[in-house]
């Protein structure tokens, strides 16, 4: 640690943060300045430890690859091997080197750069055909369509085959009297809307409504935050997009609670207004 002004614990905390979520540029500079090369072993040890933890967890819930994704991987593989083979073929002055030899030339930075460019080109073409092959006439200036309302977006989502609709039931909480509604949710798109009528008007400066999604693959004590919203006067119907900040893998239930303005990270569940269970 010669030359370092950081205590070892701080260096290790930076390495752990790097492992868990990455470092900001400032933190990267700090670590590079403060920590010698010898931290590389520690970094790799932590990385291996985290991978082992991931293996321990993943073995319990491994699911097969979706068939469409498997097919895309097969196409990627073909494109990759074609790209690897391309420089030798393009040369023309000599036969392509065996693949094993080609792939061992890791010191050849220029070759890798060329291969990377080619891969990017192939990958980009493959992934964005509509961009590359968009007909010229579609690029004409047109009047932009109005932004679809949440009601329109909800209707469009509901029309998708994989979207589920979950009725919401009012609880015995005083704020729930006369409230009814439903949730539509598309797990693949991770999009959804909650529709509520009869909701008591709230003062946004002190209280807000907050949505929650119970994920069957997460601890039920910590449902996923779906965002906060306000109810208009007169109890008119509202359609609110669900804004989950982390993925919901298996939606099991939806709920709305009354929380302090801005929402909470973990709800005390003192005022649950509506609940709906996925059946």
């Amino acid at each position: 640690m010669a030359g370092s002004e950081l205590p070892p614990e701080d260096v290790l905390d930076l390495l752990v943060k790097e492992l868990n979520e990455g470092l900001s540029p400032e933190e990267q500079r700090l670590l590079a300045t403060a920590a010698p090369q010898s931290t590389d072993d520690t970094r790799r040890g932590l990385e291996r430890t985290a991978a082992a933890v991931s293996l321990a967890a993943s073995s319990a819930d491994d699911q097969p690859l979706p068939p469409a994704l498997r097919e895309r991987l097969a196409q990627d593989a073909r494109a990759y091997f074609d790209a690897v083979a391309a420089p030798g073929r393009a040369d023309g002055s000599r036969a392509p080197a065996p693949a094993a030899q080609r792939m061992r030339r890791e010191s050849s930075v220029g070759w890798w750069a060329a291969a990377a460019c080619l891969l990017l080109a192939i990958y980009g073409w493959y992934r964005t055909p509509s961009t590359v092959f968009k007909p010229i006439e579609t690029a004409r200036l047109v009047t932009p369509a109005p932004e679809p309302t949440p009601e329109m977006q909800r209707a469009a989502l509901l029309a998708r085959p994989d979207t589920i609709k979950v009725p919401l039931g009012a609880t015995k909480d005083p704020a729930a009297a006369g409230v009814s509604g439903d949730v539509v949710w598309d797990a693949r798109a991770q999009r959804g809307f909650i529709r509520l009528a009869g909701l008591r008007h709230n003062d946004p400066s002190s209280q807000q409504y907050q949505m929650w999604i119970f994920d069957g693959e997460r601890d039920t004590r910590y449902p996923v935050d779906g965002g906060v919203f306000n109810a208009p006067p007169e109890g008119q119907e509202v359609v609110i997009p669900i804004r989950n900040v982390i993925p919901v893998h298996l939606a099991k239930a939806f709920a709305v609670t009354v929380e302090k303005a801005g929402g909470v990270v973990v709800s005390a569940r003192d005022h649950v207004v509506v609940l709906g269970q996925v059946t």
Binding site: P8, V16, K17, L19, S54, L55, A56, Y80, A189, P247
Partner: protein, 184 residues
Amino acid sequence: MSPSVLQGIASGDQSAVRACIDEYGALVWSLARRLSRTTADAEDAVQEIFLDVWKSAARFDASQGSEKMFIAMIARRRLIDRLRKKSAEPPMETIEALETIAWCDPGTASQTASEAELATRALHELRPEQRQVLELGLLHGLSQTEISARLGLPLGSVKSLMRRGLIKIREYMNIDAPTVAVRT
């Protein structure tokens, strides 16, 4: 597990690529689903991870660890990189340095054969709060700040729980000796 899948890819054997997808597709899909914001993101990530695996295959050394661990490390790097890019934080340099993957203390063959089992046992040796913090961070992709907010713990406590938990698992699994020595 076939020990030759990555070596086959490195030697240009396209059938090894299919074997790699068959063998490790579920593992990579599982990791991607946990550490991606959406299913579509997870699918994109899986494609990127397998490209990384094929490019890195020649660096795999069977004497220094299992293929599964090698692929899990590559997957985690890519997924953390993607999560970071999608966060609201300022853009940073890519974590792409796959060339730097090297196996440290390899352990013995019997140890590497049961890395997941060892990690499972190690996790059960942790205090519940250490395990919870590691699960939220390593498995669900939450940042330390998000974990702090979610659990109502000071950020310093989250950092400490994560650090100590990781070190305990590393020691339990006998993964290298720390070059940054701290108290646990």
